[in-house]
């Protein structure tokens, strides 16, 4: 009985510790960031076109646009590719192939982002510079790297969703003379829709939250780009690039404020993803 009591209490303690740590981090970020947003004004901070910390002008609009553009373009690449791969793995691939491909794809998720960024920097950036035009550091390079990084999430969650569609739906569709593709398109994908969307949202969360790889290939200029070959800076890159030069004062607060915006955006995505996964 005493043993039960100890186990139960230590579980509570473990849960509380995790919760308190997370709560502290959120508190620190908000306490440091929110006053600056209040001082500058929410509108000026979110929609300001200029980021000049040396003159205490803090507008993150170009970086919000940059973050959203990179997320959008990387999704344009990774979503079709990811869903088609998931369909292939779940419905078409022979057992042996699946048993090799699926762990290989899961492994992709475990590779540190600096490796992806480094390959992007050494291969993709020079390629874009010479074949498509300078500077090479660009939305295109970042979108491709982040798309590849989002693929494992999208593929594995979508494949699980497709596999979870009851076999009886598939049989019923076949029984009225549907082809395999008709069955996939009309029955399996609609039934798996919420799970697939959850994978897409989680994958895009990864693209928005990714920092290291983004810094390495995006060029990091806080401007609104005019083409996919132009450089941009993401919100995460903004924090990572400047934290060393902003030990105190409003500049540091502005970086925390950037963190607040990121936190809110990613939280919204997580909530959406969870709702979709529960099939609401």
């Amino acid at each position: 009985m005493l043993k039960e009591w100890i186990i139960e209490k230590s579980l509570i303690v473990a849960a509380m510790v995790s919760f308190v740590i997370i709560a502290f981090i959120i508190m620190i970020v908000f306490r440091a960031g929110v006053p600056l947003i209040a001082e500058v004004g929410v509108g000026n901070f979110l929609f300001g076109m200029d980021w000049r910390p040396e003159r205490e002008i803090f507008g993150i609009f170009p970086m919000i646009i940059g973050t959203l553009l990179v997320a959008l373009f990387s999704m344009l690449i990774s979503v079709p590719l990811g869903i088609l791969t998931a369909i292939f793995l779940a419905e078409v691939a022979p057992e042996i192939m699946r048993n090799i491909l699926r762990p290989a794809i899961e492994l992709l998720a475990g590779i540190p982002s600096v490796v992806y960024g480094f390959v992007g920097l050494m291969v993709l950036v020079p390629f874009i510079r010479t074949h498509l035009g300078p500077p090479g550091f660009s939305i295109l390079a970042g979108s491709i790297v982040l798309a590849i990084m989002a693929l494992p999430t999208i593929i594995t969650i979508s494949e699980d969703a497709i596999k979870a569609v009851p076999k009886s739906y598939k049989e019923a569709s076949f029984a009225v003379g549907a082809t395999h593709w008709q069955t996939i398109k009309n029955i399996i994908l609609p039934a798996a829709r919420s799970g697939i969307l959850a994978g897409v949202v989680l994958g895009s969360g990864r693209a928005i939250g990714e920092t290291m790889a983004a810094i390495m290939v995006l060029g990091n200029l806080p401007v609104i780009p005019t083409s996919v070959l132009g450089p941009i800076r993401t919100l995460t890159a903004n924090v990572a690039m400047e934290m060393a030069y902003a030990p105190h004062g409003p500049h540091r607060q502005a970086l925390f404020a950037t963190g607040v915006v990121l936190f809110i955006v990613v939280s919204i995505l997580v909530v959406i993803s969870n709702r979709l996964r529960r099939g609401q």
Partner: protein, 278 residues
């Protein structure tokens, strides 16, 4: 060839109707099965089964669990094709065409041989779309008024129309279990197949719903050839004209139902239908 001399008549015939009579049998029966063996990998599920299924009659397949009865009817519409590692030997002729010939497509066979499953399995769609599905994917129906009429007729034939006509756009999951099973029957009927296979259609239904489905099967045989798998002996006796008794993958006896249930020719059949095992 033209005169109809059924292989199955008042005098009983045993399961071992040989291949030599096949050329005649081809024309007289809707489905002719010859020397059919079926394997899941190395496991043999059916052993050298031969039997003839008459058009516009109900043929019941009975036998203890694991005897291969579900495997058998899933062969008739090539539903087993979707399981990896299976193998079919022998012939299954529908209107003298071997459905396992290399040039015959499973999709085409399944349009001619419909199926109703053990557990009702409507799609997560509306009542209307569940029935319309088979027509939509066939691409044959272009006008939506034609589609509506075909769906209505199928629902009428499945004796469900009066219960759902005011809520065709409601989810199929809102229907009761018995209604869902009749919806699945309507879904099979709408593409006007020639044969309908029922794989234990009532095993999950209450007695009232079961009675409705059984009555429906009786009415359907005017238009369709029906094969029903059941492990309910009374059901086989009530609904079928012919009964095949399978055990351990072998066809033990095939006969007119009333003969089978009164004076079976095999001792083991008698033991099974009187409930001594199974």
């Amino acid at each position: 060839m033209l005169t109809k001399t059924p292989l199955l008549n008042e005098t009983d015939i045993s399961a071992s109707t040989g291949g030599e009579r096949m050329s005649r049998a081809d024309k007289e029966f809707k489905i002719v099965v010859r020397n059919l063996s079926f394997y899941y990998g190395k496991i043999q599920a059916l052993k050298d089964v031969s039997l003839d299924i008459q058009a516009n009659k109900v043929t019941a397949i009975i036998g203890p669990s694991g005897c291969g009865k579900s495997t058998f009817i899933r062969i008739l519409n090539r539903m087993n094709d979707i399981i990896p590692g299976v193998r079919v030997e022998g012939k299954v002729m529908i209107d003298s065409q071997n459905i396992y010939d290399g040039n015959v497509g499973a999709v085409e066979i399944r349009r001619r041989v419909g199926m109703v499953f053990q557990k009702s399995n409507p799609f997560p769609k509306s009542i209307f779309e569940n029935v319309a599905y088979g027509l939509r994917i066939s691409g044959l129906i272009k006008k939506s008024s034609d589609l509506g009429e075909r769906v209505r007729r199928a629902l009428v034939d499945a004796v469900l129309w009066d219960e759902v006509k005011d809520r065709l756009n409601a989810s199929a999951f809102k229907l009761s279990g018995g209604q869902q099973q009749r919806l699945c029957i309507a879904r099979a009927l709408v593409i006007e197949p020639e044969v309908i296979l029922f794989d234990e259609p009532c095993s999950a239904l209450d007695p009232t719903s079961t009675a409705k489905v059984e009555e429906l099967i009786q009415n359907l045989k005017d238009k369709y050839t029906i094969v029903i798998v059941t492990h309910n002996m009374q059901q086989a006796a009530r609904v079928s004209d012919y009964t095949a008794f399978l055990m351990l993958g072998e066809l033990i006896e095939f006969n007119k139902t009333n003969k089978m249930f009164t004076t079976p020719s095999e001792k083991v059949t008698e033991d099974y239908i009187t409930g001594r095992f199974g």
